[in-house]
């Protein structure tokens, strides 16, 4: 320690502090530490999803001081606004004008506007998909005219 002391009266304190130089972990600590560090790195590589790692790297990159704080804040705000806008737009698309009653509890999603319930799933759907889903009910759809008489298809005597 070749630096000059700021005060001449604190020599005994700095001498006492020397004791702290001899507080040390047991021999072999560094090797053991390195082994645990490697294990942790391996575990994190396996555990971490690609998205998490990407976000972590983005955070470290932005945190590196290469960008002014206002730029980071503005970028984060713009990204949040864009995500919010996308979420709102997606919600509007899914709701649509004929989905006032919400989604049936089960069904096949053909596209964002048409839902086919399980009981109607099959090779043929006898009405346009846009008619489906009025408050989740299908009672209003008449498949046959009211005066229609079914032909007797039983085999004759």
């Amino acid at each position: 320690m070749s630096e000059p002391r700021f005060s001449g009266d604190d020599g005994w304190v700095t001498s006492l502090l020397r004791l702290k130089r001899y507080e040390a972990p047991e021999p072999g600590y560094a090797v053991d530490f390195l082994e645990r560090f490697r294990e942790r790195q391996r575990a994190e590589m396996l555990k971490g999803s690609a998205t998490r790692l990407w976000l972590e790297r983005l955070g470290t990159y932005l945190d590196s001081g290469l960008f002014p704080r206002w730029m980071v804040a503005t970028g984060a705000g713009a990204a949040l606004a864009a995500m919010g806008g996308l979420a709102w737009w997606g919600g509007q698309e899914l709701r649509g004008p004929s989905m006032a009653g919400g989604f049936p509890s089960s069904g096949v999603y053909l596209d964002s506007r048409a839902v086919v319930p399980v009981e109607l799933q099959g090779p043929f759907v006898p009405f346009p998909a846009t008619d489906v889903g009025q408050a989740g009910s299908f009672d209003h759809i008449q498949l046959v005219p009211p005066d229609y008489v079914a032909p007797d298809l039983r085999p004759g005597p």
Binding site: L19, K20, R21, E23, V31, F33
Partner: protein, 196 residues
Amino acid sequence: MDRKEEANGDAELVRRAQAGDTKAFDELVLKFTSRLHGLVYNMTANREDTDDLLQDIFAKAYRSLRRFRGHSSFYTWIYTIAVNMTLNFLKKRGRRQTTSLEQLDFEAIDRDVALGGLLSNSDPVRETHIHELQRRLNEAMLRLSEDHRAVVTMFDIQGLPHSEISEILGISQGTVRSRLFYAHRQLQNFLEEFRR
């Protein structure tokens, strides 16, 4: 090995690690574990916290290594990461502080001439007195503010010059001297009974 040679050796290891040589990074970990352990331990006074923080520090250094451009030495760079992460940890920990102290190397203490005058070899309960002093020193250190503790750790315990401390902490050398002055004055008050 002088500082310049050491810095050149580190730069070569860093270059290899940046190119994907994990063994080169392992060498850096082995080389700096002891020094960084001393830094973090003397600021936290807790072995378990020190171990956890060291893991986080090297993990962060590993992730950020590609962006290290060598404007400062690797030594200064990783010290800066360590000090900042430890100061953040201490701010979060607040008053929830428990000490768990490292063991003392009594053989090395015996060889230290500067300590010899303070700790007489003829004292029959010498080890007990040294352990008591160790406990009180750590308590006194914890009573300092984190910023003051950092400069005392780096200057008085680790022997870093003012210029390096100022670079690591991003403050002027005058501020380093001023913090040392006030920290020493506080330590004199806390440890008055050990004055001879």
